[in-house]
């Protein structure tokens, strides 16, 4: 049980506190409910560019990293389709430094031209280094627009194209900030050997005076049902052919998600999983193969990816995967196999509690999904998936006409 307390400030900021007496460190996590799905199609990559700008100085604090290092702390951040997450850890006696830093950059950024210029270049370098110049780096740049035609998930967090980032103006950036970086659009969670009442006092002191923003209309273009298989073939300078297949699936906060997640685990989680045993060890067709769910808040993707051993043709590879997906759609998995993956999930949750940062992130994430109290219900939801439900879900996901296939051929 992760016991915690929750409150909401007048300006809408949610504050969640979990006391962990076993550690001298405190973790602070802050989620802003803005991700790449909130961007407009002609101005993509903003949520991620913004994550970088948040380190360029806020209105009262010229540099974020130095004061934090002085306080003995470390930090990082990430952006995805749905939200942006900032996190830091530091010795407990300096918890107020964390409040000072995070509240100032929620209050207002420095918005200097230099910062925009520098971070724009860094992000463009990141685009090139991680997506364009890296073997297999542009997979999602290709797979997402193949699978999504209307929904904003069709573009990647880094941006649809470099020019969107190149053309971002200071005005664009300020509008984005004013719209999304507000207390009523944020969730703050703190884990450590701290007294919740003291944390609330600190939250009120540092965040209480920040005005809330306009409420945000969170509606996204509905993705029409897919009825025909889609396919794309590309050639790249990589050593091995690869295949990526994606199907649409339920949104994160739904019972269907849990069934799909268990399917992915049966297929490829661990050395005894089906795809690994059959296609890597027995048939020796793939050097790597994975099945996983994207975990998006809106209806996301179920993905199977594999790197082919030289000698396996693309058709053989696809047929082998299809055979396994068909099996799980028409034959009930055994009780033991289902229990195995449920045990792995439960074990994973317990191990994750060893990290105060994980706990802080999870509390914030579940609050964003619906309610932080849901965190403890997760295991029950997985347990409730029966063999029948699992088979039906597989049949639904992998039905014909629903496949999005990317064939990634090695040049030369």
């Amino acid at each position: 049980m992760i016991e915690f307390e929750k409150t909401t400030l007048d300006n809408g900021l949610k504050v969640i506190v979990h006391r962990d007496k076993s550690t001298p460190i405190v973790a602070m996590n802050i989620i802003y409910k803005v991700g790449s799905r909130d961007e407009s199609p002609d101005k993509t990559g903003f949520a991620h560019l913004f994550e970088h700008l948040m380190f360029g100085g806020s209105v009262n604090i010229p540099k974020y990293d130095e004061p934090l290092q002085n306080a003995g702390g470390e930090n990082n951040a990430f952006t995805n389709n749905d939200f942006t997450d900032y996190y830091l850890t530091l010795p407990k006696n300096n918890i107020e430094t964390a409040f000072w830093l995070e509240s100032d950059r929620m209050l207002s950024l420095a918005f200097s031209e230099k910062s925009l210029e520098v971070q724009r270049s860094v992000v463009i370098e990141e685009f090139k280094q991680n997506y364009l110049n890296q073997p297999y780096g542009d997979i999602y740049l290709l797979l997402k627009p193949l699978a999504f035609k209307k929904h904003p998930y069709r573009w990647n967090t880094i941006g649809k194209e470099i020019s969107h980032i190149e053309n971002a103006t200071m005005q664009d950036v300020k509008s984005f900030y004013n719209k999304f970086y507000n207390p009523n659009n944020a969730i703050l969670s703190i884990v450590g050997n701290v007294n919740p009442d003291e944390i609330y006092k600190l939250a009120e002191k540092w965040f209480g005076g920040i005005k809330s923003g306009d409420s945000i209309n969170k509606s996204y273009a509905e993705e029409p049902n897919q009825n025909m298989d889609r396919e794309l073939t590309v050639e790249r300078p990589v050593p091995q052919n690869a295949i990526y297949m994606a199907w649409h699936m339920d949104k994160r906060n739904s019972l269907g998600f849990y069934a799909a997640d268990l399917i992915s685990d049966i297929l490829s989680n661990g050395d005894s999983s089906r795809l690994y045993i059959r296609l890597v060890k027995e048939k020796i067709m793939f050097s790597d193969i994975n099945a996983y769910v994207s975990g998006d808040l809106d209806k996301g993707l179920f993905i199977v990816s594999g790197k082919l051993i030289n000698g396996t043709t693309v058709q053989e590879a696809e047929d082998a995967i299809d055979e396994e997906l068909n099996k799980i759609s028409v034959d009930l998995v055994s009780e033991e196999e289902l229990q195995k993956v449920k045990n792995k999930i439960e074990s994973g949750m317990i191990f994750s509690k060893l990290s105060i940062l994980n706990k802080a992130m999870n509390l914030g994430y579940y609050e964003m999904m619906e309610n932080a109290f849901l965190l403890e219900k997760e295991n029950e939801k997985y347990k409730s998936v029966s063999r029948q439900i699992l088979m039906q879900k597989a049949e639904e996901i992998f039905a014909s006409g629903k496949k999005n296939k990317l064939i990634y051929l090695a040049k030369n």
Binding site: E66, Q69, N70, E74, P91
Partner: protein, 435 residues
């Protein structure tokens, strides 16, 4: 309650009174067969980690790949369990087995929920003491690793790490081994079996148990690993020709089609036992040991030449080295080398100001707190010193010495230990002379 006044945001709220770092020593138990067991009971969750550390690192191998393959194939089949049975059982109980090897040691680690540990201990014992190295699993493992080697041979970073290792420790030495594609054709199952028989023995191993193991598990560990595991008469291999002389000067491996150059600069250096060691660590942190370091601030934040640059000290049982590592835009290779040299020169000639010294001390203090937070972290930190015959006192002493370091210490340390004339400089990529 509506907030009506703003706090003073111009002044950093910071508390410099640091919490004392209390490091509880593990409980040391000598088991009936002489093997040392260290017990670290801590934490809130009912989980257990078991590390079995064996003196079976790459320094002992006659053929390359022997140490790593032996370590990685342990779980691929034993006298009692097949590869699939091992995988099924571990997965069913939500347990994780990891195996890793470095120059000196081979480590097998099991993570398990405490309630299932008793069921898994016989499996762990079998993996460590009666591995079989089945032919089919060996072949698959060999092919996959050969494939991975080929892929990595196209990455500047991997080429540089391997080559740099040889430059520092010497060609043909046990520490200076550099894996080649042909090595995959020479390694055999018999090599692994002999290596395994010789080195995977109680007299050559120790065990760390951390987390919250229950009493039944502790008793079973004692029985399986402390009573029923015996050393044989086979003598453990003594490593020979571990280190020879270090290469000094510049070496370029030309790959002009690469988009980045990998740069490695470094030299042999002092060990944990030297009086100056903590001064070296501190000076290293300033140079390239954290995000705000001189190298990062210059080459990444100011000039955008790289996504990351760092410097570090690596310790092994028979030697250690200092190194600077980065991958830079290939067009800026020469400029990057110049900037690195410049930063070293500054450290050697200009006194570091008090603000920066204080910041780095505070930062290091924070990393100490983090590195010792939790039972598993304690196990890892303990392993890192126990191999050298040291214990947690080493860290308490280090922290004290670091907090006393002066600007003068930094100058002297940089002059003594960062002399570029003593260093090997390796570039995998291209030096563009026209810049």
């Amino acid at each position: 309650m509506q907030q009506t006044t703003h706090p003073n945001r111009k002044i950093i709220p910071i508390n410099h009174k640091a919490e004392e770092l209390i490091l509880r020593k593990p409980e040391h138990i000598v088991m009936p067969n002489g093997i040392d067991l260290y017990l670290i009971e801590a934490g809130l969750e009912d989980v257990t980690r078991i590390d079995i550390i064996v003196g079976a690192g790459s320094v002992y191998q006659q053929k390359k790949l022997c140490a790593s393959f032996t370590n990685q194939l342990l779980k691929e089949g034993t006298k009692t369990y097949s590869s699939i049975q091992i995988a099924e059982k571990l997965d069913f109980y939500g347990a994780f087995l990891s195996a890793s090897v470095n120059k000196d040691k081979s480590v097998i680690t099991l993570f398990s929920l405490s309630k299932h540990l008793v069921k898994l201990l016989p499996l762990l014992k079998s993996i460590v003491t009666e591995a079989k190295f089945p032919t089919n699993e060996f072949r698959i493992h060999l092919d996959r690793n050969r494939q991975e080697y080929l892929v990595n041979s196209e990455k500047a970073r991997y080429i540089a790490s391997r080559e740099f290792n040889t430059l520092i420790f010497g060609k043909g030495t046990a520490y200076g081994q550099n894996l080649q594609i042909d090595d995959f054709d020479h390694i055999t199952i018999d090599d692994l079996k002999m290596f395994y028989k010789s080195l995977y023995q109680p007299k050559n191993s120790y065990i760390i148990v951390s987390g919250r193991p229950d009493n039944e598990s502790k008793q079973l560990i004692n029985k399986l690993f402390g009573e029923e595991w015996h050393s044989s008469d086979i003598k453990t291999i003594k490593p020979e020709n571990i280190i020879s002389s270090q290469f000094t000067g510049e070496k370029i491996i030309k790959k002009d089609k690469f988009l980045q150059s990998a740069i490695r600069i470094g030299k042999n250096t002092i060990t944990k036992f030297d009086d100056d060691y903590n001064k070296l660590l501190f000076t290293n942190t300033i140079l390239g040991g954290y995000f705000g370091s001189r190298l990062m601030s210059n080459l990444r934040e100011d000039k955008g030449m790289t996504y990351g640059i760092s410097s570090f000290v690596s310790n092994f049982l028979h030697g250690s080295y200092f190194a600077i590592a980065t991958e830079v835009n290939i067009e800026q290779t020469t400029a990057a080398l110049q900037e690195i040299k410049k930063e070293i020169n500054i450290l050697q000639n200009e006194k570091t100001d008090e603000d920066e010294i204080r910041l780095v001390k505070n930062y290091i203090y924070g990393t100490f707190l983090k590195n010792f937070d939790g039972a598993f972290a304690l196990a890892e930190m303990f392993q890192s010193v126990n191999d050298f015959g040291l214990d947690f006192d080493f860290f308490s002493k280090s922290l004290k010495e670091i907090m006393d370091i002066t600007a003068e210490d930094i100058l002297v340390t940089a002059q003594n230990h960062f002399d570029l004339n003593d260093m090997a400089t390796l570039v995998v990529g291209n030096i563009n002379e026209d810049i």
